[in-house]
Symmetry: D2
């Protein structure tokens, strides 16, 4: 666990180097004569670093005179926010990886033409830096079961799933493969299906919707500080949130599903019973999973249920929208069908950008919606299963190599800052190399 949290196999570093090599080649191109006529004010490619460092969010680079290039505004994101990470996780092969890297749009020229990484001849060297990182990493659980840990695109501005190559490798090695799709089923599952499955051809046989009684009580109005107390009323009310996720999975995505209750010490029998009743009314199987306390054994019932569902042949996976739908209507489709919004509202600049992207030939891309994971709406305070809300789209970004269009709905942070007392202050190592404070 410690190694995974420290440098692991160096994949993140490789992504960082590939990302930053591209940035250096871009600024070098401008410095050496700027044959491509890049507009320094319209560079969209940012540098990345694997440290939470707010000081690097917004800066001015290339100061200090002619030897240091042309001054311009720039910023750093964290490594997982790099489009290179998204590309690594969607690439089918090293060749595909290289081609996608070449298609990254890094800037616009003075006459507003998109400039690609391939025009800077950077994609070959970037692929070399990533040639080992593209290989999935096999680790083992505490019970010595194999697990593949590979890639980590930022679920906010990217699709949040591990790599296609890892999933495919696992499918060749095992009879059943379980993979995670980050954040709530409105975000994670939707992107898993509309981006990862669409691109790769992968098709899941069943879906596990993970829930906790605590979270459902919170969605039912319970206070954050009282989630350890039994509260059947709040659970009853908050079930609407789970119900909508289940309906999305079954009716919108077309997948059979099981609800897995991640068991907590303070969950009461009455609460578990109520939840089971409500799931029964919804005709969805539900299993209480106790792997946190009991290890693999605690999830055995869940596993058997998943096998049963997967073998049932009832899966009929559906995208939320088709490729040919215009980008605006794709966003609207997700908003209405998955979030139960009444519609979308797009800021004027974002609307113009979508039109531009259609004209530039990116209209067939899927959309990757960046939204709070705390609500079906874009307002984190709206709990439960809100209706009647409008999705507000503030900004549009293109990930031309990852092949999706990001629609940002709300404040999205691509470079966190350290807190008042950074965790690092408590981390230490003794003379024997034993680490303290990491967890």
């Amino acid at each position: 666990m410690e190694d995974i949290n420290l440098h692991f196999t160096g994949d993140f570093n490789a992504v960082q180097l590939a990302n930053n090599l591209l940035a250096a080649m871009l600024d070098n191109h401008i410095h050496q004569g700027n044959e491509l006529n890049i507009d320094v004010r319209r560079v969209t490619w940012r540098r990345v670093i694997d440290v939470n460092d707010r000081a690097l969010r917004s800066l001015v680079i290339s100061l200090g005179g002619p030897g240091n290039g042309f001054p311009r505004e720039d910023g750093f994101d964290i490594v997982v926010a790099s489009e290179v990470m998204a590309i690594l996780c969607l690439a089918e092969s090293l060749t595909d990886l290289k081609q996608r890297l070449g298609k990254i749009v890094v800037a616009y020229s003075r006459d507003k033409r998109a400039i690609h990484a391939a025009e800077l001849k950077a994609h070959g060297a970037m692929a070399v830096l990533l040639k080992d990182a593209i290989k999935p990493n096999l680790v083992q659980t505490l019970e010595n079961n194999p697990a593949i840990v590979h890639g980590g695109p930022f679920a906010n501005i990217a699709h949040g799933c591990n790599s296609v190559i890892a999933t495919r490798s696992a499918l060749k090695l095992a009879e059943y493969v379980v993979t995670e799709a980050g954040f709530g089923a409105d975000l994670g599952a939707e992107k898993f299906i509309d981006i990862k499955c669409r691109k790769s051809g992968l098709r899941p046989d069943a879906c596990v919707v993970v829930a906790t009684i605590r979270a459902l009580k919170f969605h039912g109005g319970a206070e954050r500080t009282k989630l350890n107390e039994e509260n059947l009323g709040a659970l009853d009310k908050g079930f609407a949130n789970l119900e909508r996720h289940v309906r999305n999975v079954r009716d919108v995505y077309g997948l059979p599903c099981v609800v897995s209750i991640n068991h907590f010490t303070h969950d009461t029998e009455a609460e578990l019973e109520l939840l089971q009743q409500k799931c029964a009314a919804l005709a969805v199987p539900v299993v209480v999973a106790r792997h946190w306390a009991k290890g693999g054994h605690g999830a055995e019932a869940l596993a058997r249920k998943v096998v049963e569902l997967a073998d049932s042949g009832t899966a009929n996976m559906q995208f939320v929208y088709e490729d040919e739908l215009p980008l605006v209507m794709k966003i609207e489709a997700v908003a209405k069908r998955v979030y139960s919004a009444v519609g979308i509202k797009i800021d004027s600049k974002a609307r113009l950008r979508l039109d531009e992207l259609e004209r530039e030939g990116y209209g067939h891309f899927p959309v990757c919606i960046a939204k709070t994971q705390y609500s079906f709406s874009s307002d984190a305070a709206l709990r439960g299963a809100p209706d009647g809300h409008t999705l507000v789209v503030r900004e549009i970004r293109l990930s031309a190599g990852a092949e999706f269009v990001v629609a940002i709905c709300g404040e999205i942070m691509t470079m966190p800052g350290l807190p008042r007392v950074p965790a690092a202050e408590r981390i230490d190592v003794d003379s024997g190399g034993r680490v303290n404070g990491l967890f």
Copy 2:
């Protein structure tokens, strides 16, 4: 070779992360209330990155409003220029490493007090990030001989030797250990002895002075484009350069030495003969080494000579100066005894800084002179064995964790830029993962 040139074992990345974590904690401390009263204009700690990127040499960070910290001027160096790299290579153990990291001076307060990494509570976490990087890396040569590749402090502003731990490990594993001290014997050997040996207690038994006939002809006045032509006159004249290195090694450092002529295809018999005659006159053994063409066999004679010297018991290693000498006189000692300068001249700001360092208790540190490797003087154009020159010291920097004081003599580049046609443009990988263009 390819792996070593790509990510290798991730040591550089670990150094980068440790360096940049410290920077982030520093800016975070200022942002969160600045209890230590750090002066943002007097921050000396810079960030590092492992890409040649002139755009990052000089920048303004923390722009964009109160959430992003306090604006200040900053810059990036390459990873090898980080003091963390120098510390890694001088540390005796993980505990020593951590203590040295804590002693790094990162900034000065509004009332000009030095601020240390330990005051930011960063050194523990930094040591954790370096806990694997501190272990030497064992590789093998093409002929399957073991070699240890570990660390790489920038020979310009640091001491340029691999790690103490690597040298010690090798000494436990083998009967004879050969280690490199980067750049000419005026720089590399001097720092090896006055910094690495002084600190660690390591003592060499013999020294190999590597030379080429091409370089000696260049020092004798031959044009750079005509070094492949026989030129006995230039060789005869340029021998003064080699002679001075040999005399420094024997008389100043107190070590028996052998001259190893790194043989090139165009070296003529007459040239080799002249060189051997001149070495004989100097009473120094000389061997022609042909390992580039013939592998280990080509260096066998050299190896036997080294063994003979090492076993001779004639080594009596001497420092160029003693610890208690004031910093100014240490610089002068190196300038006069090793560079044959008539004296030193120190810019007024540098002189004030030296006085400050004496007062702050760093007077017993060795000095690490940053100077061109192309001349015994600080003027790269002065070839051969110049006399009568004056060493001009322009700037003083403190490496409080590495425990030396850097004296910068001339323009020192701590962040290179990419050339007009970056090598990366020619680097590529095919679908089978074979890399082209890396060498």
Copy 3:
């Protein structure tokens, strides 16, 4: 005319110097120890310059090391956008001017306390710089009539009227005084009444609403390129715009008014007749003014009408809102009563700022709404007399010395840029000092 457009009496320069002296004293205070604990990221006072210079809109200052102060983000506005200009135009005397200058809020401290110019001891010297500028400037028209030209607060972010002292001086010198209130009657007249009259106690006896047939046709839907063509339909429809202004003046502000049609060469008889009929139906007197073509004589009828109205004793000036109304409701009152909006919508940060200002004791200030002059709404494209729109408030700024709160609705430019071909390129002077190209 030329002199007025060049340096005139130096008033603008005096305002610039007073504004920039305050900025220099602010940064100097921070540099010299920052006793007031000013947060460099929360400085609200900007520098000004009397050149249209987009390069100065957004910059980073105090770079280059400890001697040059603490780096921070800053920007320049044009001189007329300085709060000093607004203060100069609202001050009753030199003493009042100095007190208002002292109340300017220039920044916030680390603990978010407002910092005033008086705390920097800058207001005395600022008043000295303005001691001549505060005196009204008497000029004459081409027909040798006296006119006072004094002050010019930017109608976008300030109240847009000339100085109180100038108006008062004129009232002592003449029997009837005409003064201008910049931009449409929804902006100019509202600010004249709610800010200038409220503060000074001045009360107008009558109001002239200036209109052109061209503008009314435009408001009725005519294309900008066809305004010289007769278009009775568009005039008929666009009259709704004039009607609303007249109703605002009569019913909201409580002032008798006359419509003055600024006659253009291409206005047709049929258009003038239609306009007169529609004004008659509205029971508002209307006069065609031809002073552009005929000088004072051309406005004689208008003048006689104004005298008649002024002498009628029918004026009963009313504010749009009272002092004690909360700031939010003041904005709402203007939006509903003057702009015919259905309501207002305030961005969350602006809402928080209004709450802060109420708490800090600025709740009794009048509001100064910065809005497009092209529409009654905040959408410049909505011509005529739109209903049902919502006023969107994006940003709140405090002018504590001028004693009003600015509510910014839409993009407000406080520093224009030069066009592709600057007018300056065509301006020249011959050897005799005759200027060409200025008009």
Copy 4:
């Protein structure tokens, strides 16, 4: 006096506006397509402002996105440091002024071609802004004598004399005209002769060397805090400084001169006598001037002596060097002949710049040396009449419109900062408009 120190006739403001209009047109040109291919890193034209404001010395402008131009490093100087001020003071007429403005070099292109103000079509409008400022300002002394106050080029980086037009006007109005040449006779008189007289053809008939007993004692080694005490030894020794100035004026510049002792209250009779003896030995007339205490009457003896000298016909003004001498040798001529240096030393970049300027056709320009006024050498600490020193030239700047080449020797500040307690804090105005604290 107060009015002169405040806005006076607005000349400084006009210079500021002309300077800054040129800057805005330059950045606008780059923004609008940059037809001249200006390199943003090689812009030499700086903005100016009439406030001591260290925060503006070094900044980054044009931040905030494509609408605000191209980011670049910039800085502000004070108004008197503007080349426009130097041009105003050297111009013979409005036409000459405009032509000189057009010749200003504002930047270099990507291919290192000089870009002139005329290429930006800015000089016409600049001349319009200056059309009144070019006219000399007539004021009167407390005794109602006429005086012309006009222009003020910064004596550090410009020639430090008032305008040619003012001098010529005075010569037409009076029988004898006295004009000042700022700072010591090594700087002020040299530039007056080699720049102002050379360009204009003006020829002085006599020279007044102003000295104080205090200053001479300081040059003789007395401490700054003890200058009010009689110290004949120091005066005797310090006389060497005055002697060298007198010799320069007589022997190098070829002008008859009188020494005027600016009398101070603490000067003793013995000191005055010693000074007179030493002057007698040097055969130079000396007069004690008491105008500070006694008004015009106190300088009557001096005036009579000046008239006598001026009428003597002994003046034979000589330049220190001829036009055709290369720039390097012109600097050397001043250094040796006026400063008594043994030679000059030029930093390598400055040397290259001089070579460039010769190639670009500026070799015939006079040189304007920027040096401390506290010593004949470039080291402010070297008092008296030092010999054997070397003049170190650090930087070269071109004033193509003013038609001289500036050689900077030492730290030159073109933008002062405010002190810990700015004088402005004590300046105030009462309700009657009376100013306190200005003097």
